[in-house]
């Protein structure tokens, strides 16, 4: 039976986010959370591996106490257990310290894993760095942006498209893959899934329980520091056109027929109307 670890992340559902202007950090507790779409697909991939070759699936996340919700969701969908890494000292982590913390937890709590699956990127930070850095930290092979995976024995055959190249690779296990988000048919949560989601215990570990020094985690240990966060200034002339469609199209062409015509290389002037 394979042991799979799926790393998931709770991401804000909204596009307007509450920021702490002093620290430049997201006030996560104020944002509604959902499971990151690519993580959801990593989980789906784990399920399909289990259906073919059999597997135990552990879902792990690092986040505030509310991140427990995505673990419950993972269990409802079919994960066997959930692990929450939660500590104020872990807050403000960059990808470096996030991957260190996840690695430490996996090494100490699920040491005999065969495959780690992550989403290829998250909808909030979109760095796509945690998966590769987790593989590096654990010193296991890792392949990013995977579309398709097949396990035979102690090898995984993966397919992906990178920079227009369609690549097929064979990776030794234990290993790590990051899975692309793509469209799929969401699975129904079964009644037993629902029951499991509430019955199953989620184990929570803080930094001390993992033997992590506060110096090495969260924002303190992060090599990357946020200087500031700001809204980009967009200074443009900004002509606003309103009214009926006819009026709008009319004004658009009377103002810009030369300009648009020049760019598209076509004469758009209707001689009589142009003044």
């Amino acid at each position: 039976m394979l042991r799979l670890v799926v790393c998931i992340k709770q991401v804000p559902q909204v596009s307007e986010l509450p920021w702490d202007p002093d620290t430049g950090r997201l006030q996560r507790e104020l944002a509604e959370g959902m499971m990151n779409p690519a993580c959801r697909f990593a989980l789906e991939t784990a399920f399909s591996i289990r259906e073919k070759v059999g597997a135990k699936i552990a879902a792990i996340t690092m986040g505030p106490p509310s991140a427990e919700e995505v673990l419950r969701e993972a269990i409802a969908l079919g994960a066997d257990k959930g692990i929450l890494l939660c500590d104020e000292k872990m807050a403000g982590a960059d990808t470096y310290t996030t991957s260190s913390t996840l690695a430490k937890a996996i090494q100490s709590k699920i040491p005999r894993f065969d495959l780690i699956l992550c989403g290829s990127s998250t909808s909030d930070g979109e760095t796509a760095q945690v998966g590769p850095q987790l593989a590096e930290e654990l010193d296991i092979p890792g392949v990013a942006y995977v579309d398709d995976i097949e396990i035979t024995g102690n090898k995984a055959r993966v397919r992906r498209v990178a920079d227009q190249f369609l690549e097929t690779m064979e990776m030794e296990l234990p290993g790590l893959v990051t899975i692309n988000a793509r469209s799929y048919i969401p699975r129904y949560v079964s009644m037993t899934g629902f029951q499991a989601a509430f019955a199953e215990d989620i184990t929570t570990y803080d930094a001390a329980a993992l033997g992590l020094s506060p110096e090495w985690i969260g924002s303190k240990g992060a090599p990357t520091k946020v200087l500031r966060v700001y809204s980009p200034r967009m200074d443009k002339k900004n002509i606003v056109l309103t009214g009926t469609t006819k009026k709008i199209i009319g004004s658009l062409f009377s103002l810009f027929d030369d300009r648009i015509g020049g760019i598209i290389g076509k004469d758009l002037k209707t001689d009589k109307k142009a003044k």
Partner: protein
């Protein structure tokens, strides 16, 4: 003892046309960043029979090129390349390493950063040197309308991946000379844990959005897949390309290859027509270099409308249809009877 000059490294990513272009763009920006810190610009090239690439980087502004040429490097390999990169960086201690945010770069860079124990900022859209000589990295963040500025104050090198199309490459100067440092392949390489079985360059079905002069971009505000499809008709009339925002791609209204946004494409068309796009920062950052933007949205306060040259407050699909008719009319008028407008009531 010779004092080592500070160096900004650019990873020579050349596997396909776009990867090579971003390398050239980074060499260009690295030269500007090098001035205030008195650094030189080095390009790192791993490969086999890559003299042409080396010549290309020299002409485009590299001061120095570290070259490891070996048959084993003929195919890109993330594991081998990051092993070599770490080794070289430990030896030469560059201040900064810049890597294009291509698929390969985005996978390779985090491995290298972790190996070197340093920070890495993903998908930058701006780079500067501050008064302390630190690399300030600007990156759109958290789906909101925000840019984060980050620095790596203590660890070295300071690393960043940079999106294609952000910087402009220099004119090549064939007379330029760079110092070429040949770095031999180490005798002992770690065993391959990932084996490439096959790699085929897919026929680039994607038309080159990055090169397009006219781009029509559609967002969720188009309303439906059917209405979105009308954008192709408009694109045909204008001789442009269609691109899509992340929600449109997720909704399956458009293919992934048309995605413009973070991890998508950076475009700089002469004219951008934006339909039903509110303007999440990943998107606006990718299109900000468009010269002339016409945006259509029901919400006049959407960020996309604020950054447009012309903001049309209306239903995106309706305006799209009306534009098609009006363009057809105007173009047809020109072609058949240049001055006769009578009997045409297309709008």
């Amino acid at each position: 003892m010779n004092e080592k000059r500070r160096a900004i490294w650019v990873f020579g990513d050349y596997r396909n046309y776009f990867q090579n272009r971003v390398t050239l763009q980074l060499i260009s920006r690295a030269r500007e960043l090098a001035l205030p810190i008195g650094a030189q610009v080095s390009v790192i090239v791993f490969g086999h029979n890559v003299d042409e690439i080396v010549g290309n980087y020299t002409a485009h502004g590299a001061d120095r090129i570290y070259l490891t040429d070996h048959p084993r490097l003929a195919e890109y390999s993330m594991e081998t390349y990051s092993f070599l990169m770490e080794r070289l960086a430990r030896q030469e201690k560059p201040e900064i390493i810049l890597i294009g945010a291509t698929s390969f770069g985005r996978e390779f860079a985090p491995h290298v950063a972790k190996r070197l124990g340093t920070g890495l900022t993903a998908g930058c859209i701006g780079l500067d040197i501050d008064e302390n000589g630190l690399l300030v990295q600007r990156v759109p963040s958290f789906g909101g309308n925000l840019i984060a500025e980050t620095v790596i104050p203590e660890r070295r090198p300071q690393m960043a991946t940079v999106r294609p199309g952000v910087f402009q490459e220099l004119e090549p100067d064939p007379k330029r000379v760079a110092e070429i440092i040949t770095v031999p392949m180490p005798e002992h390489m770690p065993p391959d844990r990932i084996r490439l079985i096959s790699s085929e360059l897919r026929e680039a079905k994607v038309r080159r959005l990055e090169q397009a002069k006219i781009v029509i971009c559609g967002g969720r505000g188009m309303g439906s897949k059917k209405k979105f499809a009308k954008l192709y008709e408009l694109a045909e009339l204008l001789g442009g390309e269609v691109c899509a925002t992340r929600p449109s791609v997720y909704l399956n209204w458009a293919g992934h290859e048309t995605l413009v946004g973070q991890a998508g494409k950076q475009i700089r068309p002469n004219i951008l027509l934006s339909f039903g796009i509110s303007g999440a920062i990943q998107h606006t950052a990718s299109i900000k270099n468009a010269h002339f933007i016409i945006a259509v949205n029901k919400n006049p306060n959407a960020p996309m409308m604020k950054m447009a040259d012309v903001a049309i407050v209306a239903d995106a699909s309706q305006i799209c249809n009306a534009l098609i008719l009006e363009l057809q009319r105007r173009i047809a008028t020109k072609q058949s009877h240049p001055s006769d407008l009578s009997g045409n009531s297309a709008v």
